[in-house]
């Protein structure tokens, strides 16, 4: 079943791999740096570290009520707090695939592959809809 003409995967697949790889690297670096700042106490946290053992066994509703932790996108206003900065790394990881998907749209369009243009757009919309907070009640 050897087929020498196939030496590489499709261009859209390789482009997607490259963009996701870089998005993941950036997300993990932000996550690690923010955690060092958080755990070392270098940057003050919204919820003091010493309080966590009394809080992390409670449900998320109780935790949010007890700490005044913002829901939805309100955490962006607290990016100067190290625990909230960690959420930025997580957000970068969660959108890295969207960047890759949107970059594929013109490539599939040039190949006249309409079904995959639609699939990429729909998949990006699903992730962005989740990110908007409209469906999760956290808007």
């Amino acid at each position: 079943m050897a087929n020498p003409e196939h030496t590489s995967q499709s261009q859209p697949q390789l482009r997607y791999a490259l963009l996701v790889e870089w998005g993941t690297r950036i997300g993990l670096v932000v996550l690690a740096l923010s955690f060092i700042a958080y755990a070392s106490g270098l940057v003050p946290a919204h919820v003091p570290l010493e309080r966590l053992p009394q809080l992390w066994s409670r449900s998320v509703g109780d935790y949010v009520a007890a700490t005044g932790t913002p829901t939805g996108w309100a955490w962006l206003q607290l990016l100067h707090r190290s625990d909230m900065l960690g959420l930025a790394g997580i957000a970068i990881l969660s959108v890295s695939s969207v960047v890759g998907l949107l970059a594929l749209v013109p490539m599939y369009a040039a190949l006249r592959d309409r079904s995959f243009v639609v699939l990429c757009l729909l998949q990006a919309m699903v992730v962005l809809l989740a990110a908007s907070g409209l469906l999760s009640g956290g808007h």
């Binding site: 196939h6 697949q13 570290l49 998320v60 992730v127 469906l135």
Partner: protein
């Protein structure tokens, strides 16, 4: 490399070493949670979580199971964190692992973007619904259902038979229309293997259901993705495993936002888990040829069986 000089003995000894690392870690965590005085240093828990995830990462690779699948049952049963935060962290563990592995899988052809997109679209949409429902359910109900899911995973691990190169004589109309086929170079034989899939509609419906479970329990869904891709759709086993990882990266990207928006992602739980699991998985990959996969698999089945029963009994109030 120091690790290459390590002498690891008979399979039973190796399994015992890992069991010694994992089970007591979990049991001690549980005991400590019950007995910990109010003044216990906060950093002991993240440190213990990092160590437990490191061990889980090591055994996940030779056991052929995603680290995310181990994370929620074990951490949810044996650590003092509420299941809401454990599920949020579990999704991130699965997401970070899938995103890290995805590019390599896609470049080698073991992961197929064409096969991923239709399946992931339905699974990621349903995972949002699963996450919303999961966060609205009572903790007891979540524990009970999680116990049932984990015991189902155990049953699947015991009984499922996999086919390395399933025979797909003719792709169905939808598979043909979407061009769901590809190739990869098999490292074992050096051959270029071409593949195609069939039963696309049942496959799509299956992934719709898998997405709900992934979002609801924050559990990596590789245990369900791989059999669905391999046995139902007819993808070669290696393509099924590789594509499962790419599907997971999209599904968990969607579901993780729900947990993030609700405040159910605590960096102090999520970050040590992600780092421990990723470092452990790297070591596990290097130890792959030194550890007996069958022994590790039996060990994982034993641990999951215990964690699943514990979750079920905890949810039903029989073991508080």
């Amino acid at each position: 490399m120091r690790i290459n000089r390590l002498h690891v003995g008979a399979p039973a000894v190796r399994a015992a070493l890992l069991a010694i690392s994992l089970l007591p870690a979990a049991a001690c965590a549980q005991a400590a949670a019950a007995a910990a005085p109010a003044g216990t240093a906060w950093w002991l828990w993240p440190l213990g979580l990092f160590a437990a995830c490191f061990v889980m990462g090591i055994i996940a690779v030779p056991a052929g199971i995603g680290g995310g699948t181990l994370f929620v049952p074990i951490v949810g049963s044996f650590f003092p964190f509420h299941l809401d935060f454990v599920r949020g962290a579990g999704l991130l563990v699965a997401l970070a692992s899938a995103l890290s592995a995805g590019p390599t899988l896609l470049r080698s052809g073991l992961g197929s973007l064409r096969l991923t997109l239709p399946l992931a679209l339905l699974a990621s949409a349903s995972s949002i619904g699963g996450a919303v429902i999961g966060l609205a359910m009572s903790p007891a109900l979540v524990q009970t259902l999680l116990g049932c899911v984990v015991l189902t995973i155990v049953a699947l691990m015991v009984i499922s038979r996999r086919s390395e190169f399933p025979v797909v004589e003719r792709p169905d109309a939808l598979s043909q229309a979407l061009g769901l086929h590809g190739f990869f170079v098999d490292g074992a034989s050096g051959r270029t293997v071409h593949w195609q899939v069939h039963r696309t509609v049942p496959g799509l419906l299956t992934f719709l259901a898998i997405g709900v479970l992934a979002g609801m329990f924050g559990i990596g869904a590789g245990w369900a993705n791989v059999p669905a891709l391999n046995l139902l759709l007819g993808a070669p086993l290696k393509v099924a495993a590789g594509t499962s990882g790419v599907v997971l990266s999209l599904v968990d990207s969607s579901a993780s936002w729900v947990y993030l928006h609700r405040g159910a992602v605590l960096p102090m739980i999520a970050v040590p888990s992600v780092l421990g699991m990723m470092l452990g998985a790297r070591l596990g990959a290097r130890l792959l040829d030194r550890l007996d996969g069958r022994v590790i698999r039996r060990l994982v089945i034993g641990v999951l069986l215990f964690a699943g029963l514990r979750s079920l009994l905890k949810g039903t109030g029989l073991w508080a």
